[in-house]
């Protein structure tokens, strides 16, 4: 079946390089900085890639922190955060072909969405629910990101439903022979929903190009892992479907990348789905409505703060000599400027017009 024009364009852009992280890598990578033995080379990337990955991790964190400031300042009523998940999200998303592959994300996927093409403006207009918020035009709560332009499926609230959408996208990719891979991500608590069982079974039977990412932060709101999941690792459940399952340290960005890269390779080769569980930490309450001190001890929270992927990745790149102080300072300044600009922009955008509230319940002017 023919790939649509729109898609052809997208994936041409993808192949041309510049449009995708992979491409960016290819473009900027010189032979010297892929020298065997270098940190980048150890995962088949370039220093340029690593710096770019760091930029996304730091940008996601900066946007996230800004959201909380705006919330406390009473500018936005609700925040649901990705803090602690950014390393895993960037590392994993980096392995996909932007504008070609598909991701069905969840409410913590800020870093995923940024890496896949959404902008700081896109993220912040969603917080303000402005008329031009590309995710929903102000119709959904913050955290319900989505972008057809970037192959990011619109997030809904009922957890785990998106797994089946990603499986269906992978089915279409296989039937239409588009070469696309579909990924979905969710928390470990959500992975207990029946839809996950039904979807993994079907994807495995048909060897679909599908990747299931579990971002395991140890809690489903207040319910700890031990009361949610009957095994030590969600990845242990991959065997029940005859697919490979891997546990990766969510603070090890490059390990997350490598696991996803291999899974994508298997998927493109027609070898079927993979389950990747990234052990991450939830550095904030479940949302701005949650008081996590009620169910987590101070000691536990202190220990968790030690497992922050942002400083971890920064230190790793610095020690490897990939990230210099100048670059770090430059990036920090660029990021601050971008977040400030996006904040001012979002602040200045108008609310949706109630006169438009009845639109798009159904398709309009279809011939």
């Amino acid at each position: 079946m023919a790939v649509t024009k729109d898609e052809a364009a997208k994936s041409a852009a993808a192949d041309s390089g510049a449009a995708t992280p992979e491409g960016a890598a290819a473009a900027e990578a010189g032979p010297d900085n892929t020298a065997a033995g270098s940190l980048a080379a150890s995962v088949g990337l370039t220093d340029a890639d690593l710096v770019e990955m760091y930029r996304y991790v730091a940008l996601a964190r900066a946007l996230d922190e800004r959201m909380w400031i705006l919330n406390r300042a009473g500018r936005i009523p609700f925040v649901i955060s990705g803090q602690g998940h950014e390393g895993a999200q960037v590392g994993i998303a980096w392995a996909f072909k932007r504008g070609h592959d598909w991701i069905a994300p969840f409410y913590r996927s800020i870093a995923t969405c940024l890496t896949f093409g959404m902008s700081p403006r896109d993220i912040l207009t969603a917080q303000y629910a402005t008329a031009n918020d590309p995710s929903s035009g102000g119709r959904q709560m913050p955290g319900h990101y989505g972008s057809h332009e970037h192959n990011l499926v619109s997030v809904s609230s009922p957890v785990a439903t998106q797994l089946l959408h990603a499986v269906g996208i992978a089915l279409a990719a296989k039937v239409r022979k588009t070469g696309q891979v579909a990924m979905t991500s969710m928390g470990e608590g959500s992975s207990n929903q029946g839809d996950v069982h039904e979807g993994l079974n079907f994807a495995a039977i048909h060897k679909l190009p599908f990747i299931f990412v579990v971002e395991n932060n140890g809690y489903a709101i207040s319910v700890p892992m031990a009361r949610q999941v009957s095994v030590a690792n969600v990845a242990d459940r991959a065997a029940a479907y005859g697919i490979p399952g891997f546990v990766v340290d969510g603070n090890d960005v490059l390990a997350c990348y490598a696991a996803a890269r291999d899974a994508v390779a298997r998927a493109r080769a027609g070898e079927g789905p993979t389950l990747i569980e990234a052990k991450v930490t939830r550095l904030t309450g479940h949302s701005s409505d949650d008081q996590q001190t009620k169910y987590r001890s101070e000691e536990e929270l202190a220990a968790e703060r030690e497992r922050d992927p942002v400083p971890a990745f920064r230190t790793q790149l610095k020690e490897a000599g990939v990230l210099t102080d100048e670059t770090e300072t430059r990036l920090a300044a660029e990021i601050k400027a971008a977040v400030d600009e996006a904040t001012d922009y979002a602040e200045s955008q108008s609310d949706p017009d109630p006169a438009t509230a009845l639109r798009y319940v159904y398709a309009e002017d279809t011939e």
Partner: protein, 327 residues
């Protein structure tokens, strides 16, 4: 132009559309080699193969959820739910996801898909193979709901549903599959969604029905005709969006309205029709808006004595018409 059974019209339309548009796939339980438990998809697997006719595992939520994703990525899935009674495991995917994808993404994504399911009683199917489930979906903005009553409409409405850009639930009364025959042109005609049909013009009482009940309503209309009661039968064909205009025009003309549905009476689809008529045709009513529907038990019981007790029949409709006409 040959007379075809209801199920032949559906089977041939599926095949025609799949030939016309290679982005259409059919998926569901036993739809492949077996051709479906009612043979609605018989022959499709042989013609279109494993990629486009998929025997799924026994998982309704997956059937619908994966269809949503496939629609998002360029296919037009036609999902079969083996019996309407078994659509409930997929309720969340239909109501929370398929119905809302377009609205919540501000038109970023649409979900062009059809969910076909056999519904209805009178076939010794008992509680779980006889249900009318339309009321659960006609209430949901973002969904369209179609229930044809003739082979001609089945073909024309199924075409429109498959070509529609939004999710359509297409319910087929299983008792009609082989018992109902009718002329079906071989042309590429469509019957538009959202248009009711007046299948029996009349002047004194409007009877509104759909599916099997549309046939029983015609039978009842004939029975009372001898006694000079002139009945206008409106076959709704599409339940959402409802063709309010045709319904109101008829009632404003006759002044009397009887709504017939097979489902449990309380909160069934006919309640909305009654509410609309009662409000918008109030000044024209010469009698109360009345309903003939199923009794308040959770499902059609199995034993024939109990099933007959449950089912709406031409006789029960006839009685309803006579009472209303005499009002």
């Amino acid at each position: 132009m040959a007379a075809k059974t209801f199920i032949e019209a559906i089977r041939e339309t599926l095949a025609d559309e799949m030939r016309r548009d290679e982005s259409i796939i059919v998926l569901g339980e036993d739809v492949g080699k077996k051709g479906g438990v009612f043979l609605a998809t018989d022959g499709l697997w042989a013609e279109f193969g494993d990629d486009r006719v998929i025997d799924t595992p026994l998982t309704e939520s997956m059937i619908v959820g994966a269809s949503i994703g496939a629609a998002v990525n360029g296919l037009r899935p036609i999902a079969e739910i083996q019996f309407a009674d078994f659509i409930f495991p997929a309720f969340n995917q239909i109501v929370s996801e398929a119905a809302r994808m377009r609205y919540r993404s501000n038109n970023g994504y649409g979900v062009p898909m059809v969910i076909r399911a056999p519904y209805g009683g009178g076939v010794h199917g008992a509680l779980y193979h006889s249900q009318s489930v339309e009321a659960f979906f006609t209430h949901v903005p973002g969904l369209k709901v179609v229930i044809p009553s003739t082979p001609y409409d089945a073909r024309g409405l199924l075409r429109s549903s498959i070509r529609d850009e939004d999710p359509v639930l297409f319910f087929e009364h299983k008792k009609m599959y082989r018992s109902v025959r009718g002329e079906v042109p071989d042309t590429d005609y469509v019957v538009p969604l959202g248009k009711a049909a007046i299948t029996h013009p009349g002047s004194q009482v409007t009877v509104i029905a759909y599916g099997l009940m549309a046939h029983y309503a015609l039978e009842a209309a004939d029975r009372v005709a001898d006694d000079g009661i002139s009945v206008e039968v409106v076959d709704l064909r599409t339940l959402r969006p409802l063709d309010t205009e045709t319904v109101l025009d008829s009632v404003r003309k006759t002044g009397k309205c009887l709504i017939v549905y097979e489902d449990n009476r309380f909160g069934g689809y006919g309640a909305e029709v009654a509410a609309i008529v009662a409000e918008e045709a109030f000044d024209y009513l010469d009698g109360p808006v009345t309903r003939i529907a199923g009794p308040e038990v959770p499902g059609v019981p199995y034993n024939h004595a109990l099933e007959d007790w449950f089912m709406v029949s031409p006789e029960k409709i006839e009685a309803g018409i006579r009472t209303l006409a005499a009002y």
